[in-house]
């Protein structure tokens, strides 16, 4: 029987694309022959905007890059500024921002898992269970810094304000509850035969391919590479913390889901260890001025964001604003392998694979 190839646009506005993302896909029947990702619909020029704002003001821009993980964005940027200007952060400030970024990792992974399952067709029930847990984290953030999504909590040298008294009991309550909620999610999803049939051995990403394409984050660990910057290249106080790094064996969509789920459990343990080690004190050194003016130079500090290696490359010309700010965005680089992963699979697997990569278009286009 002779068939005809069909080329179709998916997106830029489409419920499955997690933002504004377009794919030009060629099908043979239901099988994908070619998939070309087209990006740039959410380009806001954040890197250019950063060049005309002071170092503190740029923190507000970093919130809006990966808007499901603002705290880790702030952290990557602030670490880069601190290295550039030689600021030694205060201890309590660092612990606070580690707690904040681990909570943010839990929230971001909840979103990732929820929308992956949503793309599979499990309409909204698992997603809303996970968003409910995320909501509790957002409430903790609201107590801490007054905002839920666009936090702007971190400042050069630490954080701008200590967490209020009512934050700590709420955090403890959350840490007690969350493992039970995760058990619920596992009962609901992990052994579900439909999910297994749809995700196992779909879009397998080979270890070597992943390394060659500089994939990072949970996606790389799902392919079986033990690479976590919190462990390999510890920033902040991560060398004082012990945690396991869950690894996948096959590198398929199911592994990517399982790695994220187990990372949530590890993040909870990290927060608990941080709570043991945190001590009272100032949250920002006295000598840090409101207007940071670093000497001439450049800096890049990579961190392990929920989606992979995130880093801000800053160049200073000695002024009050960065001369150049470049973002190494994990979403963009993880997205590059989408085409190689989906060729040969069915159209329904395309959306699942796209969900399992866990991209955020705000970060891809910046």
């Amino acid at each position: 029987m002779s068939t005809e190839l069909v080329t179709m646009n998916i997106g830029p506005i489409h419920p499955s694309t997690h933002g504004v993302f377009r794919m030009r896909v060629t099908f043979d029947g239901e099988t994908i022959i070619d998939a070309e990702p087209i990006i740039g619909y959410l380009h806001r020029g954040s890197e250019k905007l950063a060049e005309e704002r002071t170092y503190t003001q740029v923190v507000t821009l970093t919130d809006r890059m990966d808007y499901t993980a603002s705290m880790t964005n702030n952290q990557a940027y602030i670490l880069s500024v601190e290295k550039l200007s030689g600021i030694t952060p205060s201890e309590r400030g660092v612990w606070l921002r580690m707690i904040a970024s681990e909570l943010q990792r839990i929230a971001a992974h909840s979103v990732a898992i929820g929308f992956l399952i949503n793309d599979l067709g499990a309409w909204h029930t698992p997603l809303l269970y996970l968003l409910r847990e995320r909501e509790k984290i957002l409430e903790l953030f609201e107590m801490m810094c007054g905002a839920r999504i666009t936090n702007s909590y971190l400042r050069p040298g630490g954080v701008f304000m200590d967490a209020p008294d009512e934050f700590w009991p709420s955090l403890n309550r959350f840490l007690d509850e969350m493992p039970n909620r995760l058990d619920d999610i596992e009962n609901l999803l992990t052994d579900n035969e439909i999910i297994l049939a749809r995700t196992q051995n779909v879009a397998i990403l080979d270890k070597n391919d992943a390394i060659n394409a500089s994939i990072t984050g949970p996606m790389l660990r799902a392919s079986g590479v033990d690479w976590d910057l919190r462990h390999r290249n510890p920033y902040d106080y991560y060398e004082k913390i012990s945690f396991r790094r869950p690894l996948g064996t096959v590198g398929d969509n199911n592994d990517r889901y399982l790695v994220r789920l187990h990372e949530i459990r590890e993040s909870l343990k990290i927060v608990e260890q941080c709570l043991d080690l945190i001590e009272p004190g100032p949250v920002q050194p006295e000598e840090v001025p409101f207007l940071v003016r670093p000497p001439k130079g450049e800096s890049y500090v990579p961190i392990e964001a929920p989606k992979g290696e995130l880093g801000f490359y800053l160049v200073s010309d000695g002024g009050i604003s960065p001369f150049r700010c470049h973002v190494r965005a994990p979403s963009l680089i993880n997205l590059t392998l989408l085409r190689d992963m989906v060729i040969g699979y069915k159209i329904a697997d395309l959306f699942v694979t796209f969900g399992s990569i866990d991209v955020n278009m705000g970060e891809v286009d910046r």
Binding site: L61, R132, N192, E193
Partner: protein
């Protein structure tokens, strides 16, 4: 056996179905008679006499009472709170705003002869249509004159309605957020409680107002 995973999942959804409700029915939730009496603080007879229709509705569980989500005291809200007596017109807020949405015009002036408080503020417009509520203006204010608000219901159909003019800032009810104001957190101030309105500008500062002698010492004798 095939199907065990599905049954486990169904059991989980059943458990969650019977569990506590997490959703907040903002702005109104439907309550029965007990909830209505609790909200209105009335006896059943009084409620029947004053609002007979609502009483019948409440018997069917259809009486509506407002419900708000819980809100942290540091919540960075929409209506900015501004204390004119504290403001010197230094325009630090306008300078530190990443978007440049605060417009200030001052005339040297008539108000007070003391150092640092001698400017009249003619224009102090905040265009919250473009504001991203980062709060850097509040952080920059050296005299604690500008505070984030605690409201979130300032939706409008026109862009003009999103600009807060100076007259509105002067007359608005002031329930500031405690964001970047540790002195108010020390007092355990909660902006969403009843009677949280701040009328005296002395209450919101980080420090007491300096006396005339201190000002003379600092600004005249030491120079």
């Amino acid at each position: 056996m095939f199907g065990i995973g599905l049954l486990k999942g169904l059991f989980t959804t059943l458990k969650n179905l019977l569990g506590p409700v997490f959703t907040v029915q903002y702005p109104n939730k439907k309550v029965g008679l007990i909830g209505a009496l609790k909200f209105h603080k009335k006896s059943p007879l009084e409620f029947l006499r004053t609002q007979p229709n609502e009483f019948i509705k409440s018997l069917a569980g259809l009486h509506e009472v407002p419900e708000y989500p819980s809100q942290a005291p540091r919540f960075r809200g929409q209506d900015f709170n501004w204390f004119e007596d504290r403001c010197t017109g230094c325009a630090s807020c306008a300078k530190y705003c990443p978007l440049g949405i605060i417009k200030i015009e001052t005339t040297p002036g008539s108000r007070d002869e003391k150092e640092g408080s001698s400017y009249d503020i003619d224009v102090f417009d905040i265009d919250i249509g473009r504001c991203m509520f980062c709060g850097l203006c509040v952080e920059a204010c050296p005299f604690d004159a500008l505070h984030m608000g605690s409201g979130f219901e300032r939706a409008n159909e026109k862009r003009k309605g999103l600009v807060i003019p100076v007259d509105e800032l002067r007359t608005a009810i002031k329930t500031p957020s405690t964001w970047f104001r540790p002195q108010m957190e020390d007092k355990n101030y909660k902006p969403k409680e009843k009677g949280a309105e701040i009328k005296d500008w002395h209450d919101v500062g980080r420090h007491e107002q300096p006396s005339d002698e201190e000002l003379t010492e600092k600004w005249v004798n030491e120079r």
